[in-house]
């Protein structure tokens, strides 16, 4: 440490900075990152590489010990399968509907909560409950509420004069039920993110806009949204990825993997691997999912400039 003689280093800021660099060796930042990196390497990068290798083999229960290398065979088969495209389409619907409602409901509530409003602390607390309950409990609870006969939702629908909906017996309705559950589960996160972003916006912008006679909607479009973008863009990317890869809700609401019509890509991978033991093929599925998400994430971030500060 060079701090023994402060008088000589203190005067100019330039020298101070130099001193700070001397205080650390060129390897210091790498030492700081090493523990996190080792964990990631062990549990993410090794499995990733191994998964890519698996996707080029025919590993299954029968060939577990000695899988044959078959190159891109699994991928070729996968792209010719119509079920893959159907599942992919369903995954897109699942992701878009969910993220759309997460963001709109979350943002809407955040705007309401960002006003002067007595009692908003309590309201905010009640509104984040879905986030606080563990996902599998949420899914199991909703499964109970969606029960065709005894579920609260159908009882309620019948009380207000609608017919009961076959939530758990008709695959299309099961899928819709899963979407409802997941919307309920996901909007508080977006609400908190938006609320945080809203609080960081300077009130003066709005005061100035008001003097210029801008309406509430105009203010929202021209001030709120652009200023929220750096906060919302990464949250939307993460939210999309999380939704795309959501296993728990579908798995539990649909009561396992019985019906193909309720699956999304990621549950299909699980089904192929752990129900049908087609490890190689399942690995190819997941590599494709990864590539889709990677392309999506990169383009979205680039378009919305969400990573500006990282540069």
């Amino acid at each position: 440490m060079n701090g023994n003689n402060p008088a000589t280093i203190a005067p100019s800021p330039k020298k101070k900075r130099k001193n700070m660099n001397l205080a650390v060796g060129p390897w210091t930042p790498y030492w700081y990152i090493l523990p996190a990196f080792i964990v990631m390497a062990l549990m993410v990068f090794y499995p990733l590489a191994y998964g890519i290798y698996l996707s080029m083999t025919d590993m299954s229960l029968a060939t577990f010990k000695n899988p044959n290398f078959i190159g891109l065979g699994n991928y070729a088969k996968l792209l010719h399968e119509t079920a893959f495209l159907r599942t992919f389409g369903r995954t897109i619907v699942w992701t878009m509907v969910n993220v759309f409602f997460h963001v709109t409901i979350g943002l809407f509530l955040a705007v309401l909560l960002n006003r002067k409003l007595p009692g908003k602390g309590i309201l905010r607390v009640l509104l984040i409950i879905p986030w606080a309950v563990p996902q599998y409990i949420v899914a199991l609870t909703w499964r109970g509420m969606l029960n065709n006969q005894f579920g609260a939702i159908n009882i309620f629908l019948q009380k207000i004069g609608f017919a009961a909906v076959p939530w758990l017996t008709n695959p299309s309705w099961t899928f819709i039920g899963a979407i409802l559950t997941n919307i309920w589960l996901g909007f508080p996160f977006m609400m908190m993110i938006s609320l945080g972003g809203l609080q960081s916006i300077d009130k003066e912008f709005y005061e100035a806009a008001e003097i210029d006679g801008a309406s509430g909607i105009q203010q929202f479009r021209n001030i709120t949204l652009p200023l929220l973008k750096p906060v919302l863009a990464p949250a939307i990317v993460l939210g999309t990825v999380w939704t795309f890869n959501m296993l728990n809700v579908i798995l539990i609401i649909a009561g396992g993997f019985g019906n193909e019509k309720t699956q999304i890509l990621v549950t299909e991978v699980y089904r192929l691997a752990f129900n049908f033991y087609r490890y190689g093929y399942a690995a190819a599925y997941s590599v494709v999912i990864f590539l889709i998400l990677l392309v999506f994430g990169m383009t979205f971030m680039k378009r919305s400039q969400g990573l500006e500060e990282v540069r």
Partner: protein
């Protein structure tokens, strides 16, 4: 006199609400928020309702929250007749260890990303973000094979490593964002006073980052506390089951145990909800600082 009253009313309104809102708008806002609150709270009330029902009355066809002849029998059975306490203990051990390790590892990594400029910094940060895009099952099978090879199946350590790995990337980003908001001049003066880099980090930066550390801890804890898929694959012996695996396993016996399940679910989610709610003030700040400063 009348004028005074109007003035008083207006000043009351302006003090407590936005200046230009009409009463109608205020009522509408409250109404909307209340409806949403009912939507968010109802499922929890629904579990409560089922948990309070006597066993012969589990499947009743009304929307009453507190059923007639309610009973705490289901809670008693949840605590004494199933392995709930064992599952809670297992989950607590794993979740606390995960959170402690994940927070310590991500704190140093986040600090390096925030303070130092070095080769590979940007790609390192991207790397942590990209890991979020790996579909879980893609990692699950190789991870499982690795854990079998290491002899870690049915061991807490076998969950600890993957859980830490899941919690680390997000934590690194959050903490990096928070460290960015702490002025560098604080460390610089510490260096001048002769503190070593590690001392500075430990004595100055970490105490300042307490709110962010708390949030990160909560996230890591929650991710381990609620993880189901990996635990289901890795744990098979009854004595090591975690809470999620245990509770979901009751789903098979839903017809008979619906009430016990509900009681157990309430027992396990209420402490988490309370923890979350008491930290909710920090939640806004912690997320924003991480988000805005990127």
């Amino acid at each position: 006199m009348e004028n005074n009253q109007v003035q008083f009313r207006d000043s009351f309104k302006n003090r407590h609400f936005e200046r230009n809102d009409s009463w109608l708008k205020i009522i509408l806002i409250y109404l909307l928020l209340l409806v949403m609150c009912v939507v968010t709270v109802y499922p929890m009330l629904n579990i409560l309702s089922v948990a309070l029902r006597p066993a012969d009355n589990l499947f009743q066809m009304n929307l009453q929250i507190v059923p007639d002849n309610y009973t705490l029998e289901n809670f008693r059975r949840a605590i004494f007749e199933i392995d709930l306490l064992l599952w809670i203990r297992n989950s607590l051990i794993i979740s606390i260890l995960t959170a402690v390790i994940a927070v310590s590892f991500s704190a140093t990594a986040g600090y390096a990303f925030s303070r130092y400029r070095f080769a590979g910094r940007k790609s390192g940060m991207m790397m942590f973000l990209v890991t979020q895009m790996f579909p879980g099952p893609m990692l699950l099978l190789p991870m499982y094979i690795l854990l079998v090879k290491l002899g870690l199946v049915n061991q807490f350590l076998g969950l600890l490593v993957p859980y830490t790995a899941t919690a680390v990337p997000f934590s690194v980003w959050m903490l990096k964002g928070y460290f960015d908001t702490i002025p560098k001049s604080l460390e610089e003066s510490a260096y001048i006073d002769g503190a070593s880099p590690l001392m500075t980090f430990y004595r100055i930066i970490l105490p300042l980052a307490k709110p962010a550390l708390a949030i990160t801890f909560l996230f890591a804890f929650m991710s381990a506390w609620s993880e189901y898929i990996v635990a289901k694959v890795i744990l098979t012996k009854p004595e090591v089951l975690t809470l999620p695996v245990g509770l979901v396993s009751m789903q098979g016996q839903f017809n008979t145990q619906w009430g016990v399940y509900s009681a157990a679910a309430l027992i396990t989610s209420i402490p988490v909800i309370i923890l979350f709610i008491s930290l909710s003030r920090y939640l806004v700040g912690g997320l924003t600082l991480g988000g805005v400063k990127g």
